[in-house]
């Protein structure tokens, strides 16, 4: 196991916000070319972990290696290795769909011919080519989501982070999107690290799964291993047996308290 190259390696990662521990001493590895799902209830620490892995946030403690570099010390070389589709909006509403794509393409130094070809291909793929010259502010939530995905796939990175990429998409678009991602994963050996609330998505697509709750990883392994471990028949049952519904309520309350404190501070 250890001999296979880990493209993501996380050891004892902790992130505290004042007295609130969002990520609590987690460790996991993702192999090169693997599709890895990171599951957990709301507020479990998924997005915080992704932010740390993608250089947006410094951890309180722990050791992380992404494609051979540390996202704390050597942010720039880590940034060269990944692409990301964020959970929340990250488009420029005052630019058109095409301009958002173009901006991304230039920022990621995609050669002009490939850039133009891929932009057209991806905008057609998410069915926004006809609307390419419309301002993003006129788009519906679903359209924005599709554009975010198209933009995230524009440069083919070594690692693709997807934070709940298919949230709010219809089943057709979800299926298309995953087919497209799986295709790049196969053709270019691109590693995929994603979070989702759709258990059947993780079941079907992920080769390995980690489940996080209260900032701690409560289980990790293949879909089969998780089901065997919890003596359940589906990933959803395994997930519920590991995280439970009562615990999740408590978790939400802590987050709410933290949000209230934040509001008071500002």
């Amino acid at each position: 196991m250890e001999k296979v190259a880990n493209i993501i390696s996380v050891k004892n990662l902790t992130k505290k916000f004042k007295d609130f521990t969002a990520v609590d001493n987690i460790s996991f590895n993702v192999k090169k070319g693997e599709i890895f799902a990171f599951l957990g209830p709301n507020g479990a620490g998924k997005s915080t972990t992704i932010k740390i892995l993608t250089t947006l946030l410094d951890p309180t403690d722990g050791k992380i290696i992404i494609n051979g570099s540390s996202p704390i010390v050597d942010k720039d070389s880590v940034r060269h290795s990944f692409g990301i589709v964020f959970q929340d909006a990250s488009l420029d509403d005052d630019l058109t769909a095409l301009e958002n794509m173009y901006f991304h393409g230039v920022l990621y130094k995609i050669p002009k011919t490939i850039r133009e070809k891929r932009i057209k291909e991806l905008l057609e793929f998410v069915e926004l080519w006809e609307k390419r010259n419309d301002f993003v502010k006129t788009f519906s939530g679903g359209m924005k989501r599709r554009l975010e995905i198209a933009r995230g796939l524009l440069h083919h990175p070594k690692i693709l982070f997807l934070d709940e990429p298919t949230l709010g998409l219809d089943p057709q678009t979800r299926k298309h999107t995953w087919d497209y991602i799986k295709n790049i994963n196969k053709k270019e050996n691109m590693t995929v690290f994603f979070t989702t609330h759709y258990m059947e998505e993780a079941e079907k697509i992920a080769q390995r799964i980690a489940i996080i709750d209260h900032g701690k990883i409560v289980a990790q392994g293949t879909n089969k291993e998780l089901q065997e471990k919890t003596k359940t028949n589906t990933l959803e049952e395994a997930f519920l047996s590991l995280t439970g519904s009562e615990i999740r309520d408590e978790e939400v309350k802590t987050i709410d308290k933290m949000r209230q404190r934040r509001m008071m501070h500002h």
């Binding site: 946030l57 630019l95 901006f103 230039v106």
Partner: protein, 248 residues
């Protein structure tokens, strides 16, 4: 190079698309020109200082440049709130390139605003000493634009939302404008006020622009140019440092 260009392009496109912003931001300088220019004109003349509009115009031009530049820098806060900042932050490009592109874009927009206000001052009776004065005037305007876009960027990098903005407006931007010699001559001021005007970088921009446009300067154009350049470079450095420290 492309990174700088694309960030520049974004600022410029967004500015020219917001026609109401352009027109709206002309109201204030126009009001200053009319109210101050005509209101204080006769007193100024009686005090033996000559034509007030001639004195006031460079100040109003740079006031307008400063506002546009600061707002361009500060719009990082909007990018943060609307999420777009993340897209720039995770990009594999140096923070210096991002800051340079954004700053040059903001400065371009601010200079353009300055040119419109310059045309307005011509309408109310301002006359530059010579047509060639436009070139040194352009250099001073551009430096002031870069300086205050960098300042806006630096400040915005440390703010999470627009809440602190009012504070900056009242305790930084307005004092910079009013204590810079934009509206009154800097001679015979009380010591504390004189000190503030001397450490205010806008003072040197206005002095330089006045020197270029009407041939009246306190410190000399070389001094003005030197001080503006040094402060601008320092703020660009501080701005990119603070920007690189942003955590989301």
């Amino acid at each position: 190079m492309n990174t700088i260009y694309i960030l520049w392009l974004r600022q410029v496109k967004k500015y020219f698309r917001s026609k109401s912003r352009i027109i709206g931001s002309l109201g204030q300088p126009l009001l200053f020109l009319v109210a101050f220019g005509f209101g204080f004109g006769s007193i100024y003349q009686k005090a033996g200082q000559g034509n007030y509009i001639q004195f006031l115009a460079p100040g109003v031009i740079l006031m307008s440049v400063l506002f546009t530049a600061m707002f361009s820098g500060i719009d990082i806060i909007w990018d943060r709130q609307f999420g777009f900042l993340k897209e720039t932050l995770v990009a594999p490009v140096s923070r210096m390139e991002i800051i340079l592109g954004k700053t040059l874009g903001g400065a371009t927009v601010a200079v353009f605003q300055g040119i419109i206000v310059f045309l307005l001052t011509l309408v109310v009776g301002f006359r530059p000493q010579h047509i060639m004065a436009i070139f040194p005037a352009f250099i001073f305007t551009f430096l002031v634009a870069i300086l205050f876009t960098s300042l806006g960027t630096a400040i915005a990098s440390t703010l999470e939302d627009m809440q602190g903005f009012q504070l900056i407006m009242n305790f930084l931007i307005m004092p910079i404008v009013f204590l810079s010699g934009a509206f009154f001559p800097l001679s015979n001021l009380p010591k504390p006020i004189e000190f503030i005007t001397k450490i205010n970088p806008l003072t040197y921009g206005i002095d330089g622009l006045r020197g270029a446009l009407i041939g009246v300067s306190n410190f000399g154009l070389t001094t003005d140019l030197l001080i503006l350049s040094v402060v601008t470079l320092a703020l660009l450095g501080i701005g990119s440092y603070l920007f690189s420290k942003i955590q989301i």
